[in-house]
Amino acid sequence: MVAVAKSTEPAEPPAGPDPAQPGRRRQPVQVRSRETVERILGAAAALIEEGGVDAVTTRAIAGRADVTAPSLYRFFADREQVLDALIEQHLERLSAFLAEAETGWTPSSVTEFVERELGCYAAYFQANRNAARLWLDGRVSPTVRAEVLRYNRRTARRLHGVAVAADLAPRRPICWSS
């Protein structure tokens, strides 16, 4: 009799929307599921890079990622949720990129402050073309628009912190974001 190794991975929850958080996409638990989600996001990114945000449809993503439609719908209810996940991924990477670029840096002037910040964003978008298109053209999507708005508010607080620490701005904030 052959002993079957018991998987140490947690069981994948059943398909469909997350009952605990209606409207939220289901998070992948198993390694294979995470790989599928990564493939789906990679396919969406490639489609955006080639044809812009309008080129992203669930059918196109599934075809490009070589997954079946039910596999895609297991994790994403629709195209909006894929775009939402992709922009979240980019915002995490962008934050890490900015944190690294700003480590040990204290701007000595307003000019240097603006030059460095604008340069960092331009460099990230240049290296991640699909992020630029999603960030700048994807605002027709309500989820992307909401994510951009939240991120811009966080950015305003972060920039104010950098400027205060460098003694370029007073503690009481001026209007950094709308």
Partner: protein
Amino acid sequence: MLVELGDRILDLAFRERRDPDPDVIGHGRIALTAYLAAALRLQANTARRRR
């Protein structure tokens, strides 16, 4: 306001382009720097007047 302006500059710089338009980035940098310097001056003046 600064973040929204920066966002708009990046939008213009990358529109229909793979690499950012250096002229837009250059002018954007000037505009942001001028705005921030003026806003900080304005706030400093307001604080002085209140004192």
